[in-house]
């Protein structure tokens, strides 16, 4: 069985206009990009548009990517920036936008949808910066350094935002009594 091409190989071939390599690159990252966009934007149509735009921008600027660094954070950074730009535009738009609260429904999970939905609802009430930092850290598993680079903020600021986002989510989940429905963690760990 043929080993999957490395990011460096894919990028090199994409820069030469290899359609197969471009397909592979899109297939490798599009689900994650779309998921992140949906979580940040809470709007499927916007997320689809952003996903397309992210890849087009990525293909356009592949020559600026440092091949010594991993590709995934680089693409995620483009996605975060596009989402933040769109959120900024939305805030300046006079008409209200109906955001989906259930767009990020998870696939089957042992803890069920309830906790996830509660977390998403709590996230929706958070400030955009806090939400982005929280999602990038806890859902996309990006390190604080990478989040800081993506959001163009110092690491200390990102850690503060994360701390505040978590505290707000804890408070909300506690006040809504979600904790009582959770399975006993001590017995599972």
């Amino acid at each position: 069985m043929k080993a999957p091409a490395t990011d460096q190989d894919l990028v090199k071939r994409c820069m030469h206009g290899d359609a197969v390599a471009m397909r592979q690159l899109v297939e490798r990252f599009q689900q994650e990009i779309f998921g992140l966009s949906v979580k940040l934007l809470r709007h499927r149509q916007d997320a689809e548009d952003v996903t397309q735009e992210v890849f087009l921008r990525a293909f356009r600027s592949l020559h600026t990517w440092d091949s010594q660094r991993p590709l995934r954070p680089w693409i995620l950074t483009i996605a975060v920036n596009r989402c933040r730009t769109l959120i900024g535009k939305r805030s300046r738009r006079p008409e209200s936008l109906h955001l989906h609260e259930e767009v990020a429904s998870p696939k089957d999970h042992p803890n069920g949808n309830e906790l996830y939905s509660e977390i998403q609802a709590a996230l929706a009430d958070l400030r955009e910066d806090y939400r982005t930092a929280f999602i990038l850290f806890h859902e996309q598993s990006l390190p604080c350094e990478q989040i800081a680079a993506s959001m163009d903020r110092p690491i200390g600021t990102i850690k503060t935002w994360l701390h505040r986002a978590r505290s707000a989510i804890f408070d909300r989940l506690q006040s809504r009594g979600v904790v009582d429905a959770l399975p006993e963690a001590r017995s599972t760990h």
Partner: protein, 250 residues
């Protein structure tokens, strides 16, 4: 009892536990550490530990259901954009080449054109050459058809061409300056002219061949000028002070 929010004042042990919780969520502490010690005694902190644990085990790697596959769309758009940008790049390159050619060709033509006056001036002024050509019985067509002109043109190095061009310009300027200098009034002429122009015509003293009776052109060596031009000349002489120096009885 609800745990006080992070912004509020937190009792000592709960505050310490909150820091532990953050460290756990940052991935710096094992799971066991948050469920022992203070969490076993404080119900609120135990709940928060439970939430933290759930967050860490629920959120990462969550995939979105009903994911739309946009691979074809994205790749087609990327390829179309790539070919379009390639076309634009080629168009810009061609435009730049045409612009460079548009600048270079006239410069080269000008450089080679300088070569002709050099050849002409070596045989005399352009007017003299023209006169000679008029007197020449042979027509230019015949000249061109003569066997000596049919030979292949010489290819000269660019340095030689530029040297010839420079020499031609220098020579032409010198000749032009010489001819202009010959027309320039000498001090003697200027003196005579100013005397004639500013002083009154002296009375005849009985000599018919008196200088004053001679035409102005003879006196000054300058072509006769009309009254208005003479007046202008007088004014010029007066303004420049040349007339005053020569003015009699001053």
């Amino acid at each position: 009892m609800n745990h006080p929010s992070f912004e509020d004042e937190i009792p000592g042990e709960c505050e310490q536990f909150e820091l532990l919780l953050q460290q756990y969520l940052d991935g710096h502490l094992p799971c066991e550490r948050i469920f022992e010690g203070h969490a076993e005694l404080c119900h609120s902190c135990q709940q928060r530990a439970q939430i933290a644990y759930s967050i860490l085990h629920t959120l990462p790697g969550q995939e979105i259901a009903e994911f739309p596959d946009q691979t074809d769309l994205i790749v087609n758009r990327a390829l179309a954009e790539r070919s379009r940008s390639s076309r634009i790049r080629n168009y810009r390159r061609s435009l730049a080449a045409v612009a460079v050619a548009g600048i270079l060709i006239p410069v080269l033509l000008q450089t080679f054109r300088w070569q002709r006056p050099a050849e002409n001036l070596s045989e005399g002024l352009p007017t003299q050459v023209a006169e000679r050509n008029q007197n020449d019985s042979r027509s230019p067509v015949e000249e061109n058809q003569s066997p000596e002109n049919v030979s292949a043109p010489k290819v000269r190095p660019i340095v030689q061409v530029l040297n010839n061009a420079g020499a031609t310009v220098t020579d032409y300027s010198r000749r032009g300056l010489d001819s202009a200098t010959s027309l320039w009034p000498t001090s003697e002429k200027v003196d005579n002219a100013s005397v004639v122009a500013i002083t009154d015509q002296p009375a005849a003293v009985g000599h018919d061949d008196s200088l004053s009776r001679l035409p102005t052109a003879v006196q000054t060596g300058i072509e006769p000028v009309s009254n208005s031009a003479k007046n202008a000349w007088n004014l010029l002489m007066r303004d420049t002070g040349l007339a005053r120096m020569q003015k009699p009885n001053s």
